[in-house]
Amino acid sequence: MNRKLARMQGVISALVFLALMLAACGAPATETGPAPEASEAPATEAPEPETPLIRRYEGETIRILMYEQVPTYSTLDRLQEFTDATGINVEYELLAESEMIRKETLDFSSHTGTYDVTNVHFWYIPQFAQAGYLEPLDDYVANLSVPEWDSMSDFVPSYLDSQRFEGGLYGLPFQGIVQILYYRTDLIDQFCGGTPPATMDDLMTCAQAITEGGAGEVFGYTDRGSADAATFMSPAGWIYAWGVNFLDENYHPQLTTPEAVAAMTHYVTLLYNYGPQGQAGMGWAEAEQAILNGVAAMHADTHDLGPDMVNPERSQFPDSISFAMPPMQDRYAQDFFASGLSINADSQHKEAAWLFVQWATAAATQAEQLAERSDFTVESILNSEAYRSQVPGGEVILQAAQVADPAYFPAIPEFGALSDVFSAAVSRMVAEGPDSVEDVMTAANAEIEELLAAAGYYD
């Protein structure tokens, strides 16, 4: 009996030990303090003065987490150039966008430091920077810049600004996208006098004319109307066009202002009256598909869709889709997006990680990818003749980038919650029509106000 009891005790002890080990592995760290001292001061730990900066971290291995998309593939295809230049080994993990965001957030919050470098979308910069998850890069820029990779003065200002929070720099812009208007030249010629709409009023008139002439086969305009978070950008950019920012300077939502209501009435009218059926279930991918398939005549969205528009394998009208500046009311509509490369504050290889970030975002590295992508973040490329001639819509992208304003986005840590509320509201308004706008905007405004009050922005 005693032996049996002893065995049982042994087994129970083993199980308890296993449980404790697991708990230790998975428990969230409860401190968000500074990173280990060893890598806190990048400039003061220079080893041998004769070792050039570019080779100073030779032999180190960094891990990066990025999401699956063309710019990522284009950059990683050239990874050997970085390793040859620096002697730093790079291990990478690629995930679908949403999965990457979840994984990096959990890695940051558990302070495991699994990844040294990650893609961070500009709207997460405030959240991650405030929580102490991201390494501030200002010292690195000042003291550890490799001259041939230094593009600080070349980055498009709006893209670089999107990587800042409360004055600090937390990433370098890896990918930048702005809104342009895609339109079918044949339909614009037939119904809208041959000139793409420049103002919101022109857009409505033109969309109405095409829809009425399209006899239920072709619709004037399409955009995002589904309830997913990505829908947030287009309607928020519409509100910006009417001269109002989503939040005022005291973080109060502005959805009940006459301007915001007018903007959303315009947006919802366009989609409800002159958009294809089922707009309330259409995200950016379906909206793009609608113009590619000839169901819609106009679509304002991010400029990286340009190559699809003129690709005969993707578009049914590759020769008759053209590009223009986004429509404007008081200001240009926005759909600005930037994703940067940031360094994990818990990284044990911050200097090596910095060299990778600098290389991957350098103008020289981007220039090699001219034939592969269109979302460059440096003016020298966007201004170049090669870009204008090779990239579909290249002639309007720089112009659109110069009027792009990340401020249309509520860049606060609670952005995710705001996006959830507002995207659902937009989807509902698009499903119910323009008459619902005032009530739904009032309800969304109250819900956002409540969320931000709970987060401590005000009482």
């Binding site: 065995r7 968000t32 959240q127 309830a227 309330a280």
Partner: protein, 322 residues
């Protein structure tokens, strides 16, 4: 006693080496393994370990999380807040609406799945040409990944390009934006769920039908009972066990359906198809409020557990009646 069994030692290269140490360690290890092997419960250790790793630990972790305020938007460490997260949920209209939709989704989807599964099982439980081929074909939806099912049906529902609207058009009906209307989005997702999981009910119920004794049916036939009478008075009572098992699994699956809803509607338009699991996901991965999300998940676990207990109780009661 102190020196008993003390190993001899010899000096080699300035280090004391115990020549018997390796052998003694091995013998200890092998005796530990032997005693483990001789222990009746030893064989359950690997499964127990996996259970702890994959079920018990995450559940306890989630339970712990539901009592803390841990917002990933804040620089603050997690702080204990007691039942505050549960109180928050109970006070949220959105929570109750999501719960209501979950119950509707679960009830309708499980009910129709069982009914259609039973119908198909009855059809297949009779001599049919190419019966095995038909059975294999019917199982296909069940083995497709839910995300793929969601994407396929999303495309099929497309008002401009989808097959369903094409067929409706051919039959002279107007096009319907199934996923783009508040009144039809949840029902459209239910249809997809029913399509995917009917084969699951079919498999369980067909196995049950095939194991039924034939004598009572032959006797009833001789007595002149109609097919419906035999189904009502014999098949259904004798199939109580398989029906309860299928119901239990279907309810658990439907209650937790996430992939299909996420892919097809994202919970919209508005929040018209947002179920409890979608709401918990949004709290966790859009609001980044991990405590509230964990509390919502725990409430789901409690509801599913209560329902499972009820089903098991009914099953036990019916067994004792038999």
């Amino acid at each position: 006693m102190a020196g008993k069994g003390r190993p001899s030692q010899k000096e080699t290269g300035g280090e004391l080496v115990d020549p018997g140490a390796f052998g003694r360690k091995r013998s200890r290890l092998s005796s530990a393994l032997e005693s483990l092997a001789s222990w009746d419960g030893g064989f359950i250790l690997p499964a127990t370990g996996l259970m702890i790793l994959l079920v018990i630990f995450p559940t306890l972790y989630t339970l712990g999380l539901s009592f803390v305020r841990w917002n990933l938007t804040e620089a603050r460490p997690p702080t204990f807040v007691g039942l505050e997260n549960y109180a928050f949920l109970v006070g949220e209209t959105r929570f109750w609406e999501a719960l209501g939709r979950t119950l509707i989704f679960t009830g309708v989807s499980s009910g129709v799945t069982l009914a259609s599964g039973m119908t198909l099982a009855l059809l297949l439980n009779r001599p049919l040409p190419a019966k095995n081929f038909i059975r294999t074909l019917l199982i296909v939806p069940m083995v497709v990944t839910p995300v793929v099912v969601g994407l396929t049906w999303r495309f099929m529902y497309n008002p401009e390009l989808g097959m369903i609207n094409f067929l409706l058009g051919e039959l002279g009906f107007e096009t319907i934006a199934f996923l783009g209307k508040i009144g039809t989005s949840l029902a459209s997702v239910m249809v997809t769920d029913i399509w995917q999981y009917t084969p699951f009910a079919l498999l369980i119920l067909l196995a049950g039908l095939e194991s039924l004794p034939t004598e009572p049916f032959e006797a009833a036939r001789i007595d002149g009972a109609s097919s419906f009478r035999m189904f009502w008075a014999l098949t259904l009572p004798m199939m109580k066990g398989p029906i309860l098992v299928a119901t239990l699994f279907r309810v658990m699956f439907s209650f937790n359906t996430f992939d299909t809803i996420y892919v097809m509607t994202g919970g919209g338009p508005g929040r018209s198809s947002e179920t409890l699991v979608m709401y918990a996901y949004r709290l966790g991965f859009e609001h980044w409020h991990m405590g509230e999300s964990a509390a919502a998940a725990l409430i789901m676990l409690i509801l599913v557990t209560v329902f499972s207990r009820v089903i098991l109780k009914v099953a036990r009661a019916s067994r004792s009646e038999d």
